[in-house]
Symmetry: D2
Subunit: 151 residues, 4 copies
Amino acid sequence: MNDQAPKDPDFEARVRASFASQGLMVTLGATLVRVFPGLVEILLPASRAVSQQHGFVHAGALASIADSAAGYAALSLMPPGAGVLTAEFKINLMAPGIGELMMARGRVIKAGRTLTLAQTDVFAVHEGREKQIALLTATLMAVEGRDGVSD
Amino acid sequence: MNDQAPKDPDFEARVRASFASQGLMVTLGATLVRVFPGLVEILLPASRAVSQQHGFVHAGALASIADSAAGYAALSLMPPGAGVLTAEFKINLMAPGIGELMMARGRVIKAGRTLTLAQTDVFAVHEGREKQIALLTATLMAVEGRDGVSD
Amino acid sequence: MNDQAPKDPDFEARVRASFASQGLMVTLGATLVRVFPGLVEILLPASRAVSQQHGFVHAGALASIADSAAGYAALSLMPPGAGVLTAEFKINLMAPGIGELMMARGRVIKAGRTLTLAQTDVFAVHEGREKQIALLTATLMAVEGRDGVSD
Amino acid sequence: MNDQAPKDPDFEARVRASFASQGLMVTLGATLVRVFPGLVEILLPASRAVSQQHGFVHAGALASIADSAAGYAALSLMPPGAGVLTAEFKINLMAPGIGELMMARGRVIKAGRTLTLAQTDVFAVHEGREKQIALLTATLMAVEGRDGVSD
């Protein structure tokens, strides 16, 4: 849809360093897997620690990794120095978060100068079978020249 | 907008017990404060453990408490035996999550037989001042007679 | 929530002139009623011309007046010369659009330099009774210095 | 993602008859093009009659055809007798609606018993080039046994 050439040759290192500084991802036990221009994958092992009341993975935990995947897919295409903030996202939960592992794959749909639209598909891996359980669409905002906001 | 008489006289105990079983809320350090018919408040102390890369509270952490607040506002009006699942939510982030404490206040806009619409306002308390930083709208689904899904 | 002082003393005339140039509003038969700083109301008479297949007012027609109401609420607070574009909106339909008249009341939740968050409540008036039937939240973007985009 | 076998062999005739009874589509000048199981396309010629204030196609008009495309993609997979209602949708506008023709392609992501998730891509055709300008995700509800609600 758009040419997804990274404006920053060091995009992968930059995304990985920024992800490592997200305290929430550490707290949830999420890990960053693949980082391509405009596409980022995050894994979350299912456990009691990220559950809702029925033992499924909490919609908030799914939204957290899906939002980070969308945000880093967007950041991977931004010029050096820009920071990324989420303006909004919507998540549809298609099936309960049941399985051993949750996987969020975020990709850029449209990278604009100020706003980027990204979409994340969330999958549950249960007994070796992968099933899509959620779909997130997000508007990410590039922020430049603001104290404390880079990457 | 709608008469918000609880169909379950024990709604508060039921909401509190269900919240206590949400592993994610424990992991994040969130606590349930007020539980009224159709209105629920959840607090989240800000810390490195729930941060994104700039040190603000992560949008996913805000979404997590906002989703739980919306879900429990919905559950507080459901008949005994019904369970609540989130079908979808959207969150708009109006300002960065900066402050000592985040507070999510969820309330039911329309309670239907199958679907409930709820809205959560999220506030940051910073140096004694409260500021709205996010707005979530959610569709909650009442589930009855499904194994493992109650409250 | 925010001080909603208009930056343009002529905000009402500007909103009314812009509304009059929205061909879609003419086609639907919608009219602009009240224009206050940060709050705008639009009316739509129900008819076969704006219906869906069951005879209710089409979600798209409700979304159209709700989006315009949100957009003009946002524009009413923007400085002279700025144009407004919708970046995204979500609408929850709470009840079918049944009645003689639909009314959309849009108001600004947070006016930012680039992005404004607005919310529109949509009501159906049926046999003299008003009932909320939809809720829209929208992100509006202020555009300056772009050819053909003002007001 | 899901097996999209139609439960109603007459799905196409049913979708076409229902579309023909949507007064709004007639008013806007929209036409139904392709109807496949789980996939529906709607065309809208751009004109002053569906414009916003800058002369672009109004976000509400884009949302109207995108919502109908999502709804009919959902209906195409529903059993005979069921009616479809939109519970909610979100639309992200990626670029202004500039061009001769707008095209909405709706497809089912997950068909459930009660709720169906569908997504619509909206394209503008301008001087022979097709460009995606909007992305809608919708929750559709199957309604059975309710007076006046079928198809």
